[in-house]
Every structure is written in C-alpha cells, then in structure tokens.
Symmetry: C2
C-alpha cells in the first residue's frame, strides 16, 4: 500500500523560546490557548484546534533525557494561525488591546489578508484568513 | 468581541534547511507533498491537508526583500504529521523502503504511536496517530 500524501495533516508545530514563562504568558495568557503539557525549563505545549503548538527551550531540548529524539533551533522561527472573519479582525483588535505591535499587514494574491506580530521570544507569528493558500481540500 | 481561541487552527508550520533542493527531494519526492510555491535559494512551500509546511533557507529568509517580516532559525527543528491506520504503518514502510532510518518509535500514554526520522537538513520529523494528544475537538 502506497500511503496517500493528501491525507496527511500537521499535528505539531514547534517554536523555540528561552523564556518559557513568557511564552506561556503570551500563548495561554494573551491568546487563551489551552496548556496541555508543561515541563518547566524544557517545554510548554498548547492545543490549537486538532493540532498542537509546541514551544521548547532550544538548549534544554537539545539534551537527550529519554528516547525522544533531540532538536533545538536558535533564532526567530515562524508559524501562522488561521482565523476566519469575524474572528480575524477580533484577533487583531485583541492583540492591539494588549499593546502588541502589528509588524506588518499583507493582502495576498488570493485575497486573503494576514497580519504579523512577534511573540516574546521574537518568533514571527502570523494570523491569516484560512483561504490564504487557495482552495481548501 | 473576544476572539475564540478554540476556533484557531494552524495554517503554517516552518522548518529551515540550507539545501532547499534536498528538502524538496524529501518532502515532495519521497513524501509526495504538493509544492505550492518555490523561490530558489529562499524557500519551498508544501501543502499538507488544509495547512502548509514552509521550508526556508535560514540565512536568506533573515534578509528582508519585501514587507514580509524576517525570521530564520538555525539548528534542528521539529514537526509532526498525523496519519491514521492503515496509513500510519504504510508511511513507516514507505520511508524504510527509501532507506530512511527510523530514529525512534514511541507508544504514548494515550495509546497513540509515533515514529521519528530526520529530514535531509537534520530536522526531527515525526509521524503520529491522530489521537496522540487526546480527544479531538
């Protein structure tokens, strides 16, 4: 049986942050994401719909502590949340209301809009309308 | 209006690779993902269900060329694909058939299984059964 690549979905997205408490204050406190797992000094994991956003300390997670393969990237990463109107505009107002600067706003060739901000670790976080990449399968 | 964090989904996951051709050979050639956008030397983007896997050259994407905020992380990152049986086992056989070593196999407390491999850039890529993080919303 040849597996079907169009049936794959993304279950986990990772970002890195040296200050995990600041990351949790942003992703749980400001955005309101559910914390599913927390290992102080190592990682904090958040539920996003059917998927997960994993935030790791890049130095700690590069050291093996169990059978899970190590990793750990340094420097700003990027991820994007999808939100359809009226949620899309509500998120922008919500973040601005928390004093978080909107770094850029773009309208893409598909007509979808997105805006960008930085999380406390400097990662580039985007909010976009869901049709940014064209027709939904 | 307070936006609803439980309605958010992940639209884009990013990894970094210094050799984008090798990344494309793996994600498109071996996995079979659709290439949606390619900018040689800078990035190659793949469709994964309703979301996207973005692979960036970490040095090139740290330099501003337009209004899109820069980013770029170095060192191995991590992401996870979800696949339910019989696809889950078919992916493991498919990857082994391409000579790609399985670095680890784990059965989690939820009963979900996952296996790990490395992409050509050394990123930790996981395939997991979709119930890894508990009940699906």
């Amino acid at each position: 049986m040849r597996p079907d690549p169009t049936a794959l979905t993304i279950l986990e997205t990772s970002l890195y942050a040296g200050d995990l408490a600041a990351a949790e204050a942003f992703y749980a406190g400001v955005l309101g994401l559910e914390v599913v797992l927390r290992k102080p000094g190592r990682h904090v994991f958040f539920r996003v719909g059917r998927a997960m956003l994993l935030v790791f300390d890049p130095t700690a997670t590069a050291e093996a502590v169990d059978e899970v393969p190590t990793h750990g990237a340094k420097g700003p990463g990027h991820m994007c949340f999808a939100a359809a109107e009226p949620e899309f505009s509500a998120w922008k107002r919500h973040l601005e209301g928390h004093g978080i600067p909107i770094e850029a706003e773009i309208t893409w060739p598909t007509g979808a809009r997105s805006f960008y901000l930085r999380d406390p670790a400097g990662n580039s976080v985007e909010f976009a309308e869901p049709h940014l990449w064209g027709a939904q399968p």
